[in-house]
């Protein structure tokens, strides 16, 4: 099966497994030999798929870490922010996880790095504009 189809299938299966779970149940679902850890924020579910020997409670903390950073960046983040700025959400995620492992436990440092890169991007853009308008 092609990667794209595998991906769609996996997302569909996991979604149906998770969305049907009631609110009082635990945040872990077993799926195909992995564990899916999910956390619900209003109408949005954040789900991470981990190995059997990973610490599920820590994963819950990592999800929350990510969400708090998103919140700080977007200012009271909501679902629409993530939809219209998904690429920025990914840039933030790339400062928190690499190779599936945690990269930085300080929210302040992550925020600083993101801001610095935004500035870097803008500076170069201004430069291009300045050249083009000549």
């Amino acid at each position: 099966m092609s990667t794209g189809r595998l991906r769609t299938k996996a997302i569909r299966e996991l979604s149906s497994l998770i969305l049907t779970r009631g609110p009082k149940l635990c945040n872990f679902v077993e799926w195909k030999g992995y564990k899916a850890v999910y956390r619900r924020y209003a109408s949005l579910y954040f789900c991470m798929c981990v190995d059997q020997d990973d610490n599920e409670l820590e994963i819950l903390e990592i999800i929350h870490h990510f969400v708090e950073i998103l919140d700080r960046y977007f200012g009271s983040v909501c679902e629409l922010d993530l939809i219209f700025n998904f690429h920025k959400a990914y840039y933030i995620l790339d400062e928190i996880l690499i190779a599936g492992e945690l990269q930085e436990s300080s929210k302040k440092i992550v925020a600083r790095l993101i801001a610095a890169q935004v500035r870097s991007a803008m500076l170069l853009d201004w430069g291009k504009w300045a050249i083009n308008s000549k």
């Binding site: 872990f28 679902v29 077993e30 690499i98 945690l102 930085e104 436990s105």
Partner: protein, 854 residues
């Protein structure tokens, strides 16, 4: 500006897609955008590539194919600006994966970016590499990453460390290069670098024994100090979560300590104190604290801990298990699974709580608990546990029943010490959840019953009772049918009543009622109906007065549209009507099935079972057919099986996996009287007399299946029937005409015979092989097999290359000695193997047209 380029901004496209009300609308919008993007890409439009890739990523997230954008990502990555590179790398990570070959093209760009002066560009490259590199790329770029591990910038250092993790996961051989840089990372103060460094060390330990030892010697002290510092640190706002300083670092260090202390007494002793401190000081009212405690307990279980420390761990476990938070309980069950190997007594103490968890409303907890219960079962608690589980089976959810049933059945099988208990439990399980019970489980039950003659009466009566209440459970029905068929007279005559049984009277007609109701109620299940028919046949012999009624019931199925049932009905009807003299011997009690062979065969024959099922599928009705007595039908032509005298090492697959259930017709066929009339019983029954290659009457409700390589006398008797029409008593003529022994569309074999007058038993056969096809055959090998009373000696053939279209021949001579010359004719089974255009072919056949008198 390109008139065809997409003027819409990213956010407009997203709005448009979200406004679609149907899937078709969405597809239309996406198609339009994709077309615009495609033309923009082909125009090499620089200004919009950033936007195009962003749109493509969104479209990809929706699930549409976007491979046409892959090269565009590469172009963006290769461009000079930071924002282009950034979106290019993100596109790379989202739209590609390590399996794509296009990924290799990025290696050069990555290499350059890894050496860039802008630290954020280096970061982008490390991130991309760490997330999706393939083993090839890992090997190519490992030296760059190694170098970056030693830079001063903590941002790059931590990214490089995590990237290295992926590299050593993909190419474990490179682990030794990263060993010493990794240890120096542990001396840093920056938390991000520490976390990444500790994680890198953990992965190194998993991959390399040497690294493990190196770290154990050099880093244990440092790690303990790190843990102590953060454990005792005052409030640090930057890293504080729920009152604990950097729980993430806590957890990672604990995990690394677990790997280092595992199996090593010295290290374990050294870290004892800090573990005790963490276990007792950490607050457990918030998730972060519990996460740390969880990791701590896992570590204590994983090293050579002191008993004091173990007690601490078990206490935490106990607290977790009784916590109301479902997450904590789930995690506790996990911990208990590890704890079993360490202190199983302690875990047994929590058995009641665990059993409660099996009944929990949360599916994840139920699953964990059931697995745990399974590990806890031992000889002493097997009975009460089984009872609890079976009680729960009654009320459990449908989706859980399958798992629960199979676990219960395993427990029952493994731990049953008395047959009666085993039978009782199995009957209960079958009544409650028979539809979830796997076939091999109830087959095992039948084997057990047949091996326990004193319990057969009890079994059939229990099953009869259970059937009255739960006749919708198919497996229960099937076992009941089989038992009533076999042991019907025990049921009716109350044979072997045990003390604990309540008195019960079942008449013959009640028993037949059961079978009749099964036929009507389970009209869609071919296996059940087939089993019913043969059980009825058995009863017509065991209950002579009911024979008439049985015959009526069977007759109603003569017109069945299912071939198998129709055939059985007709044949059984015929047996009842015309062949009363052999009926009782046909349906005698089945020989006892050997349990130990059954168990070992079952253990080793799951493979064979699959092939049996497959071969059974070829049968017309398509159901996985088993005769009621369990003999699987041979898939090959029965005649070929009959003789089964071949030199093959591999018997027909069906015979291995179901060998344990003996053939039904282990009966005295001594009166294989070849009556002059064409209706020879045996010929009817066994459909002998048909040529080898045809499959006109494949199956038969009572086919003989000789065990491989045991040609019994009866088998040869059948051959008598074969040649009986052609046998001439009296002196044999010295001239024996040649015969065409075998002919197919591709091969013809002729035999000619010579005999010496003074050796009447010996015949020399000269075989000639002719290739009838248009391609030559190579590696031509001829094999033959004969019944036991004949001796065969094959001379080598003159060649093993047979030219096409009869342009050349192979000849081979063999000598036959018929020790029963004059009483029994020759018979032979042959097998020819050859290669055509390098493909192997096999032809087999039976020769039964030997001239008489050989």
């Amino acid at each position: 500006m390109n008139p065809f380029s997409s003027g819409t901004r990213l956010r407009d496209m997203i709005k448009a897609i979200r406004a679609c009300k149907t899937a078709a609308e969405e597809r239309a919008v996406v198609r339009k955008e994709c077309a615009a993007i495609r033309s923009s890409i082909s125009e090499n439009d620089q200004d919009y590539s950033h936007r195009n890739i962003a749109k493509l990523m969104f479209i990809h997230m929706l699930g549409y194919p976007t491979h046409f954008g892959q090269m565009e990502c590469l172009k963006l990555i290769a461009s000079a600006g930071f924002p282009e590179k950034r979106i290019g790398y993100l596109g790379l990570m989202l739209l590609l994966d390590e399996r794509q070959e296009v990924l290799m093209l990025v290696t050069n760009s990555l290499k350059q970016d890894l050496g860039h002066t802008n630290q954020y560009i280096v970061g982008l490259a490390l991130c991309a590499l760490g997330n999706i590199c393939s083993a090839e790329m890992a090997r190519d770029l490992a030296p760059e990453v190694e170098r970056l591990l030693l830079t001063r910038d903590p941002n790059i250092k931590k990214k490089a460390a995590l990237c290295s993790i992926r590299i050593i996961r993909k190419v474990p051989d490179l682990a030794e290069n990263f060993s010493s840089p990794a240890t120096s990372l542990l001396k840093e103060k920056h938390h991000g670098v520490l976390i990444a460094g500790v994680q890198l060390c953990t992965d190194l330990c998993k991959v390399s024994e040497d690294a493990s030892n190196h770290l154990r010697k050099n880093c244990t002290e440092g790690l303990v100090r790190i843990l102590k510092d953060i454990c005792n640190s005052p409030y640090a706002p930057e890293y504080d979560i729920a009152g604990i300083t950097d729980p993430f670092l806590h957890i990672r260090v604990l995990r690394l300590l677990r790997m280092l202390g595992h199996g090593d007494a010295d290290t374990s002793e050294y870290i004892n104190d800090i573990l005790a401190q963490v276990a007792s000081k950490t607050e457990s009212n918030k998730n972060a604290g519990n996460a740390i405690l969880y990791e701590c307990v896992e570590t204590i279980m994983g090293i050579e801990a002191t008993s004091g420390l173990r007690v601490l761990a078990i206490n935490i476990l106990g607290r977790f298990l009784s916590n109301r938070d479902n997450n904590i309980r789930y995690v506790a069950l996990n911990m208990l699974m590890k704890a079993i190997s360490v202190d199983s007594q302690a875990v047994q103490r929590h058995r009641t709580t665990i059993l409660e968890c099996v009944k929990d409303s949360d599916a994840s907890i139920r699953k964990r608990a059931l697995e745990l219960v399974f590990l806890l079962v031992n000889d002493t608690n097997a009975k009460p546990l089984t009872k609890e589980l079976i009680d729960y089976l009654e009320v459990s959810d449908q989706d859980f029943k399958g798992d629960l049933t199979s676990k219960i059945c395993s427990i029952i099988e493994k731990f049953s010490q008395e047959k009666k208990w085993y039978i009782d439990q199995m009957v209960k399980v079958l009544s409650l959840a028979g539809n979830y019970v796997k076939d091999n489980v109830w087959h095992a039950l039948i084997v057990a019953i047949s091996n326990a003659p004193d319990l057969q009466g009890y079994s059939v009566r229990s099953l009869y009772k259970a059937f009255q209440l739960s006749s919708e459970q198919v497996s229960l029905v099937q076992v009941t049918i089989w038992c009533i068929g076999e042991y019907g007279e025990m049921l009716v005559n109350n044979v072997g009543v045990l003390q604990v049984e309540e008195p019960m009277t079942v008449t013959e007609s009640d028993a037949v009622d059961v079978l009749e109701s099964c036929l009507t109620h389970h009209s869609t299940d071919i296996t059940t109906q087939s089993m019913c028919l043969i059980a009825l046949l058995k009863l017509s012999s065991r209950f002579p007065p009911s024979s008439g009624r049985v015959k009526e019931i069977i007759t109603t199925h003569i017109g069945s549209v299912v071939l198998e049932l129709q055939q059985r009905a007709i044949e059984f009807n015929s047996i009842i009507q015309r062949h009363q003299n052999i009926k009782s011997s046909l349906v005698e009690r089945m020989p006892v099935l050997d349990e130990s062979t059954f168990i070992s065969k079952r253990a080793g024959s799951s493979q064979a079972n699959i092939s049996t099922e497959k071969s059974n599928q070829q049968l017309p009705s398509g159901a996985s057919l088993k005769l009621s007595n369990g003999v699987a039908k041979p898939a090959a032509s029965p005649l070929v099986d009959l003789l089964d005298l071949s030199l093959d090492d591999t018997p027909v697959p069906t015979s291995t996996s179901n060998d344990f259930l003996h053939d039904l017709l282990d009966v005295g066929l001594t009166n294989s009287s070849s009556s002059a009339s064409g209706t020879d019983i045996l010929m009817d029954l066994l459909s002998i007399g048909t040529p080898v290659q045809s499959n006109t009457t494949p199956e038969n409700g009572s086919s003989i299946k000789a065990k491989p390589n045991t040609a019994t006398v009866q088998v040869v008797d059948l051959l008598d029937g074969l040649a009986s029409n052609g046998s001439h008593p009296g002196a044999q003529s010295p001239v024996h005409p040649s015969i065409t022994a075998y002919q197919s569309s591709t091969l013809k074999i002729t035999f000619s015979f010579t005999k010496q007058p003074d050796k009447p038993q010996v015949t020399q056969i000269h075989a000639t092989f002719m290739n009838l096809s248009s391609e030559a055959y190579t590696d031509f090998i001829f094999q033959a097999a004969v019944p036991k009373f004949i001796q065969l000696h094959l001379d080598p053939a003159n060649s093993n290359h047979l030219p096409a279209s009869g342009n050349g021949r192979i000849t081979q001579t063999f000598t036959i000695t018929n020790t029963q010359h004059g009483q029994k004719p020759l018979a032979m089974r042959i097998r020819i193997a050859y290669k055509v255009s390098n493909q192997e072919r096999l032809e087999q056949g039976q020769i039964n047209n030997f001239p008489p008198g050989l």
